[in-house]
């Protein structure tokens, strides 16, 4: 009879240990294993990501020349003095004289100038734009050469407006041109 009581005690003890210790431990182990699985996925994705980054780095090294051109077209700084110098040199090479240069303040591309017209959609970007207005005097042929040179410039310069009137007698046959342009930087 004593053994029967002891057996009942064992069963009760087993159930108690199972419920109080084993089950919570099992749940805790399951949670840790789930955490391990997610960490393994995270680790693998991080490894893959940095492998991909390394791959991109070596790919970019193959495109050094085009990237250098992009950097020249879109510098990190407005580089106004060098832009003015370029405009002045190009004007004199094409037979024009710069009469006046006006510079507007920099604004975010897509926020101001681009929203003024419907042809260019307003887009969010980190590109900064600076308006420049140049007045030049010279011949019509010189203007054509000047505009062509500006279009070929390594720096991306967007001409927005060109205007002139035929010269008056006192202007000695020289046109007075007005050109509005935008330069960009990142």
């Amino acid at each position: 009879m004593f053994k029967l009581y002891l057996a009942i005690f064992f069963i009760v003890a087993a159930l108690t240990v199972g419920g109080v210790l084993v089950l919570p431990k099992y749940q805790s182990l399951s949670a840790i294993n789930k955490e391990i699985e997610s960490r393994e996925i995270e680790l693998q994705s991080k490894v893959d990501y940095f492998t991909h980054i390394k791959g991109l780095e070596s790919q970019l090294q193959e495109y050094e020349e085009p990237l250098a051109k992009i950097n020249s077209a879109l510098p990190n700084d407005p580089l106004l003095p060098s832009t003015f110098n370029y405009l002045q040199v190009t004007a004199s090479q094409t037979g024009l004289i710069i009469e006046e240069v006006l510079v507007g303040s920099a604004y975010a591309f897509g926020s101001q100038a681009q929203t003024r017209t419907s042809s260019v959609p307003a887009v969010e970007s980190d590109i900064k734009a600076t308006d420049i207005s140049v007045s030049l005097s010279g011949s019509y042929q010189s203007l054509k050469s000047f505009i062509s040179e500006i279009e070929k410039s390594a720096r991306l310069i967007e001409i927005q407006k060109i205007s002139f009137e035929s010269p008056k007698e006192e202007d000695e046959g020289l046109f007075l041109f007005s050109i509005s342009m935008v330069i960009y930087n990142n």
Binding site: A7, L29, K54, L67, L74, S119, S125
Partner: protein, 175 residues
């Protein structure tokens, strides 16, 4: 006889008690063993998790993060450049178009070209209105010109026909 039967029953019942006792003991032992195993595996898993967390922290060294930063900056620059190239126009192409289409008996006095809106405003003078009409017809035949608006028609001091023309140009020609 009755006593004998009772004794037999008692003798048969005893092994059942024993089986129940040992079975209960085995269950308890199994539960304790399971607990011990779980404690062991939990410890091992915790160590493994800690190792994984350390490995995750070690990935992405300073140089790798710098490379990542540079690549993102390059990507941003390429994207910006693509956007700008998409809208980039070559306004110099308006001059050959104008030279081709202006009537030889017309002289221009004003030129105002808004590249953003593709609208070219030209003002000028013609010997007479017939020549101005011919000029308008020449412009209408050009596929690059999408719209023509004639305004400010007047007779100038010199007796010529002065005018202003607003031409809507096809943006494709400046690409």
């Amino acid at each position: 006889m009755v006593e004998l039967i009772h004794k037999k029953i008692q003798q048969r019942a005893l092994p059942l008690h024993n089986i129940f006792f040992y079975a209960a003991l085995a269950v308890l032992a199994l539960v304790i063993a399971a607990f011990a195993l779980l404690v062991h595996f939990e410890g091992r898993s915790s160590t493994l998790l800690q190792d994984l967390e350390n490995q995750i922290l070690q990935i992405g060294t300073k140089e790798e993060k710098q490379t990542e930063k540079e690549i993102f900056a390059t990507k941003k620059k390429i994207d910006s450049f693509s956007k700008l190239i998409d809208i980039h126009k070559k306004p110099s192409l308006v001059f050959p178009l104008l030279e081709e289409t202006v009537h030889p008996q017309i002289w221009l006095t004003g030129f105002d070209f808004n590249i953003e809106s593709n609208i070219l405003e030209i003002s000028g003078e013609a010997d007479n209105f017939r020549i101005l009409a011919e000029q308008v017809n020449i412009l209408k035949e050009k596929s690059e010109i999408l719209g023509i608006s004639l305004s400010d028609i007047a007779i100038s001091d010199t007796g010529n026909a002065s005018f202003s023309l607003f031409l809507t140009l096809d943006p494709k020609i400046f690409k």
